[in-house]
Symmetry: D2
């Protein structure tokens, strides 16, 4: 297994897609060296976007999390979140009426900004169901799992409507050794129990990459060969980038440790084009 | 599809295994006519047992639920619960130390009666993990799903130990149109997230039928051909009975409505030997 | 459930995406009335494309199957096959060397036209493995399942390389009551046995819809709201179209019979915007 | 991870259950030292049985494979095969008529010895289906996968009947680095395609252990604590033994190499009571 120096690779491309968590930041905050790395890309006129499976906050808030750490390079227009795909779906396919959501009030932004009314699953009355157009699973916080997972299941048994999942991740790290269960895992459970087919947005699905590609093309003329996807997770970032037809770079600053990298790549059959220690080293 | 009269079938056997919910009782209580049916079996010297995927209460309490409705025929020794198999496993394989449980204090009975100490997941301190011997998933009540499902996952990431699931059902009915999510569904989610293999007890697993068979044999000399399994669920009662090699009877007083029975049997390929409207009609 | 007349719906759109099998044709040949329907679309200046999960033949050959039945309206440039996505992937990500394939010689076209060399799995020598760049699962014919499924598995155990699946369908109809097992089902089996993550192309994946969208945009200026997806299968055509954000129309001339349509829509939670008996009636 | 000497462990038990492949033999033949080990067990009056997921041959033939290598200690009555459970099911639940089978003529023994007629899937005429009582998946050889897997699927679409799988293994080794696809993997594929629930026999299912326990009890008075299961596979031998409530011993002469043992045990959560290099070293 050959390790490359990130900047040696990056300078060959016109556009970089970065995963956020494990690549640019972790539970402690933004990694040292990220600002310098982004400045080098700017200097070489290389565009970049952050592709994140996150529907808990609006793009403005996601950018603000970087700005707060002094990374003003990552502006709102550089954020591509799975929530934005859910928003796009709601806008084109639902377009009026009320959507039930599981998540925080912040996450409901993605529904409201599509011109739709929202109701939290907490406030749904199963004995007097309104005319709901869809259910959106947005975030693991903001509702009572004991009561509201069951309530969602019973709502689906009473009324047939599309269910959209705006973050397909099953867990997310909260410290060096701990994880939280994410809404993607709750979605998987509910889908089996309800025996319905849910609609999922987020990496590795190609819709996410295509949406980012559209953003890149709006800025400048680029083809698939001009883009590099950089991520720490084989099952989302790397396989998704590979399938979309762009080059991929695995970094070892997140999910996968250097000593395990070769073993995990062989075990999964998901092969990145490059491997780097991090985007800053 | 030919419907049989239950007693015409039952009288050909020496032992009847009854599922509980949907067969002898539902959310409203014990069905009318069950007492008379059991008395007829008694008169003809036919033994019977109740096989239930329930680990929320001790056998005494499960029997008491029938006695409360005037069904004194169902005594504690006639109850075969999946919790009893979990108890047997803990007794033979763990036999000392402390077991972490998810469930009510009532459900912890199955661990304590195996001579083991218990600690609720609520009381586990992840920063100071004790010497736990196993985790037992017993009941969907008695803990905070938001906090404690995540805590269970992180406990499993820190310490390798067997996880036993004492009720494999994914949901259970709470009214004519509503269900609750059962501990079996939470176990399925946790097993995927932790990437471990859990140990499951309950129908359709043959261990449950074998345990009931041992009880039957203790009472009288019987072979597989002398036993009839009666249930309302193809995926637990009927396939489990078929695989164990005993005759099976589907009743239409629970999960499956008469108009759908033929379609569901064809769709699943799970074929009961008999179909009856109920055990009392 | 309200049935619409297809042409009443179609005339509201600028572009129609048609599934092929069960919509325009079946095992007997092209449906009567398809030619007239396409002529009406032409007259109203409505573009159309055929989206098919088929990698067994080149687009030219797929178009020829329609032409042979007198449907000259469907030209090669109107065919969007899952094989074309596989081709695009091979071109952008592999771009030189030899690819092992499972399928007929016809299906290997999709690899060769990407400038790559091919070797049939039949001709691979496990004791002397060449420098293969990928394995492509293209078609269920053209190899010996007994020998070559096992050979593929052992090849993957010896050499780590991407595996692409150019048709995700599990079965396809061969007569009114019979089906064939398709390469998608063999891919599912091999993926589990090899414990690798394969790369799949074809509906319902949004990449297929996006590729067709690119073709449509090249012809004329259209947005998502100008496009209708027409299909007979909820799990590929309808859910795929819905997720991509375009309107969807289920036709009852293929997989789903009129009497079951409402039940199947409720059971799956996959809800088309319109339902029509067929595209020609 | 502490390694034990096998005989130090074995002498504490009254009965040993051995897996066959990877424990007593491999693709080269019976391991050196097995005869001496069995003689030592005989000397100490310790009973033993071979539990094997094999339905390709009658118990007599399975014993003969050992005898041929000079191991006369393993007599027919010491063989417990998953085929014997399939036989028991057919005898108690089907008991007359014709059963369709996939496998060699040798494997059909398990059906014929239950007093049933057999027909190979090869000889079934889909246009003129006989009155078949069940389908038995016995062995990966003896039929044409291209033609007969599809034929089995279409047979199941035309006629509802139980499908039994007499060997649940997905693969089996044929040399140091190669495996064959076993009938269990074909069963998994067919079950998904047919959307039916098949009936599976073999480790880790407790019915296999219970059947062996019955044989042990017939020889001498033993309880669960007197029995040790010895195997090289965590997912069948060890989890199955653990769940059945008996002690388990992992040997490193087959599937799992010494350097990986700890990692695999942690990754799966399947924990043997003992680990030994082999049964003879």
């Amino acid at each position: 297994m050959e390790l490359s120096h990130f900047m040696d690779i990056a300078l060959r491309y016109k556009v970089i897609f970065f995963d956020s968590y494990g690549v640019l930041r972790n539970y402690k905050g933004v990694f040292d060296g990220v600002k310098e790395m982004l400045n080098t890309l700017d200097k070489h006129n290389i565009s970049y976007f952050v592709l994140t499976n996150d529907a808990s906050r609006a793009p403005e808030q996601l950018a603000e999390k970087f700005n707060r750490h002094g990374i003003n390079e990552i502006t709102t227009d550089k954020i591509i979140s799975s929530g934005m795909l859910a928003h796009k779906y709601l806008e084109s396919k639902i377009n009026h009426g009320t959507v039930v959501y599981l998540g925080t009030e912040d996450s409901a932004h993605y529904i409201e900004s599509a011109g739709l009314d929202t109701i939290s699953i907490k406030d749904v009355d199963l004995d007097n169901i309104g005319d709901y157009r869809a259910i959106a699973l947005l975030d693991d916080e903001g509702f009572d799992w004991n009561a509201d997972i069951t309530k969602t299941l019973n709502l689906l048994r009473k009324a047939n409507m599309p269910v959209i999942v705006a973050n397909t991740d099953a867990t997310y790290p909260t410290s060096k050794s701990n994880v939280n269960v994410a809404i993607g895992a709750i979605a998987d459970m509910l889908e089996v129990l309800a025996r319905k087919t849910f609609i999922r947005f987020g990496k590795p699905d190609s819709q996410m990459f295509d949406y980012a590609f559209e953003h890149a093309v709006r800025e400048r003329k680029v083809g698939l060969r001009d883009i590099l996807m950089v991520g720490d997770t084989l099952k989302t970032d790397i396989i998704g980038g590979n399938k979309f037809g762009i080059d991929t770079c695995l970094v070892l600053s997140g999910n996968i440790q250097a000593k395990n990298a070769e073993m995990v790549i062989n075990a999964t059959g998901i092969i990145p084009d490059y491997i780097c220690e991090s985007v800053f080293a």
